[in-house]
Symmetry: C2
Subunit: 504 residues, 2 copies
Amino acid sequence: LNGHYQCAETELNSTEGELFLSEAFKVILEEAVHKATDVKEKVCEWKDPDQLRDVLDLELRDHGETHQQLLQRVRDVAKHSVKTNHPRFFNQLFAGVDYHALTGRLLTETLNTSQYTYEVAPAFVLMEDVVLRKLRSLVGWAEGDGIFCPGGSMSNMYAMNVARYWAFPQAKTQGLWSVPRLAVFTSQESHYSMKKSAAFLGIGTENVYHVKVDESGGMIPEDLEAKIVHAKSQGAVPFFVNATAGSTVQGAFDPLDRIADISESNGMWMHVDAAWGGSVLFSKKHKHLVAGIERANSMTWNPHKMLMAGLQCSVILMRDTTDLLMRCHCANATYLFQQDKFYDISLDTGDKSIQCGRKVDCLKLWLMWKAVGSQGLANRVDMAFANTRYFVEKLKKREGFQLVSEPQFVNVCFWYIPPSLRGKENSADYKDKLAKVAHKSCEIGICVAPIIKERMVKQGSMMVGYQPLDGRVNFFRMVILSPQLTQSDLDFCLDEIERLGRDL
Amino acid sequence: LNGHYQCAETELNSTEGELFLSEAFKVILEEAVHKATDVKEKVCEWKDPDQLRDVLDLELRDHGETHQQLLQRVRDVAKHSVKTNHPRFFNQLFAGVDYHALTGRLLTETLNTSQYTYEVAPAFVLMEDVVLRKLRSLVGWAEGDGIFCPGGSMSNMYAMNVARYWAFPQAKTQGLWSVPRLAVFTSQESHYSMKKSAAFLGIGTENVYHVKVDESGGMIPEDLEAKIVHAKSQGAVPFFVNATAGSTVQGAFDPLDRIADISESNGMWMHVDAAWGGSVLFSKKHKHLVAGIERANSMTWNPHKMLMAGLQCSVILMRDTTDLLMRCHCANATYLFQQDKFYDISLDTGDKSIQCGRKVDCLKLWLMWKAVGSQGLANRVDMAFANTRYFVEKLKKREGFQLVSEPQFVNVCFWYIPPSLRGKENSADYKDKLAKVAHKSCEIGICVAPIIKERMVKQGSMMVGYQPLDGRVNFFRMVILSPQLTQSDLDFCLDEIERLGRDL
Ligand SMILES: Cc1ncc(COP(=O)(O)O)c(C=O)c1O
Ligand SMILES: Cc1ncc(COP(=O)(O)O)c(C=O)c1O
């Protein structure tokens, strides 16, 4: 207790530590990069939870382990994780690997700082500013504001909160009791974070009005108008409309210009959830999909999705130039945001956030952007569209596959119709059957898509998601984004679904 | 457009990509680990923002760069970042480097998956469960719930929201208009995330009642009782009390048992913000500081602080066994949380979160824990306390240094009294002078601590924070946590402050 404490044997000195890190990096490179991206390897190595618990020996004990054991653990965790960077991973709205972004991520982790003040994150405070500015310029905003958030759901929440503050600043101090009942508008096919946001912010899920969509999933502006009238008639105050640019399932783009007209004439804040579709802004050819986005007040954009920056990388961008974001969120903690610093304290942007410690999420995007340039990112977007076209054309020509709707984006939603059901599309109980094909090994009927999904995961050959939607029975949602994809990977996808579902 | 798209020249094939990664890793290891932890190197390389912008050439352009240029960028960013893993970084509630945790972080980044379903994160879903369970067992909860959140502020927000749902479930659906005005209680020296939480959740900052603290910063339970009575008399409903275990500035521990009595008798949810102090639970010797914590309903704990797991690593733990967390936050999105999966869907824990994509934050903690064992983590905590004792003893013996209060934890708050002020402690304007020493190079008076801080940062010799608090003028807050610290680093701190402030 007189300070003559010895380092525990388990505390490494830096030489041992660096040696371990280097060895571990080799294992990571081999298992989580090299093999993980090899098309001849599995996308995932399925284990039942009970088996997997055993294999991983997850239990935490009193005593530590040797470096050899730990390296084996790194190998095991990698082996039993899903290879989201594998060319046949089509399961989420992220996939593939960008080696430059990954480098940025490794550097971020190693530097381990927090993005709140210039004092502890000088390079990253300036970098965040440059990246946000550049992203805004793609939207068409010469000025404005923004911040990196831990994911698109959080960015959407930020938007809703800032809009509320803009409409009723007293909500920040006095709470919602000082404000009339608020109404939020978003499409039926918008992301569920709108509901989560309304619940979390104290607005309530029932004050989210779900606007109807057309067949392809885009918001119907006439119904938005009707819903606004309806909400008003119920005594609620419409303050926030969320338009989706690239919906989660169908990849639909809401008609932004029409929605902007309606927002403006109703004095509402217009937010665009472009978490998924925002990256079309890079592409001269495809940015028409978000025409009108510059009229919005804010937008969410996730470079960790289409641009492959790596999780988590999401921004909220704002057109506002009155420091709303700071005014809405600041708490002015004196231990962190001292006012008597020797540098320009407007660089201490952390108080714009609802977080305190905030992970550095800008470096991976910045380094990737430096590496390939805006042009490279544009190519990436164009390539995803072209690959999607290719896949859709192949799919259309193929027996047993049927589009749910014509894709606007890089989500391809389709049913696989097993041989036993083909040609029976017009029979009365066709839809029911598609959902409940009697399968050999099952007494009760199970959906086609879930059976195929189970088989593909257990075999590890590929991963693609499925879901029902608005009366439409389970269909596959293929997401085509990684520039590392080849046509043969896309061909494989169709072949494989057919192979796995042939006997159904 | 027929799919015969070529990869842009900027898209790497895997061989080139892996080569680049390996080279970049060497640079990272050298610049952000080896040099960064070398006591002979600077903690930071200060540049004015304008200079730094030039040096880093942050601008993003149309075209990409060569690998040589990019490696130089990695070097530059590392060079101009603050070395939070340096033994003389005492500026925040995190410091140092744990090589095993860092390995876990590199693997996490490389695997790039999202913690929402067993389907895409099998190993991490199970691992999160084991880690949470083990952390809860240290609290004394054989059962319960919890989740990793992006930082302690978010964990605190989760607690407040879950408490609200527990007290008034209709808030989730109908919003706060269906609920009486709510009141939150927290100490004057609690973390500012309580205010941010109340604002964000729509409760309002004015509905946060700040309870008085004693000299060392601990909540005064009698004042909590008085504030509850006061709030009730104003028509508000007390529903949530936050006790702090390890306050941000002074490191104070609120009296948990007393607060639990008061919470219980008022039917309130008791949360413990142990973001900073929770790690004492590992130590047989020091866990008495949080006696009574098992009576709380929830707690926040940041292993990225004292345990050195790396940012971001924070959990909210709950005693609840009724699935409150899920019920409070779920939105039941069918595209992600399909009900007809082939495995036990209770493993799809993502809907407990307010996020959708959620970074994997458990692996780094798990791997570190595997490496050193609970015993190793306990040693780490004990070592921090012992180092603090050492530092405090030295400080007390030294002329010109004065404790703000006797430390309970590993925060040491003290003034440096420059020679020109010594022995004048009893003069009427002493405090004023301490805050406004006329400095040679300044016309107007500036605080002692800010001047010394500026000098240390510009010289890069060490980093330690300062702040005013509740009428007490700017004092230093030294944070002693890294087991890599030596006594000579602690001696250095005192010498260096003296050297930098001698002429004041
Ligand atoms: C007591 C306390 N609670 C909560 C937090 C917030 O943690 P985070 O920075 O992870 O949001 C801090 C941060 O320093 C803290 O000291
Ligand atoms: C349209 C849309 N918005 C928001 C989100 C949420 O993004 P995150 O997963 O980063 O929270 C998603 C996620 O898929 C999305 O598709």
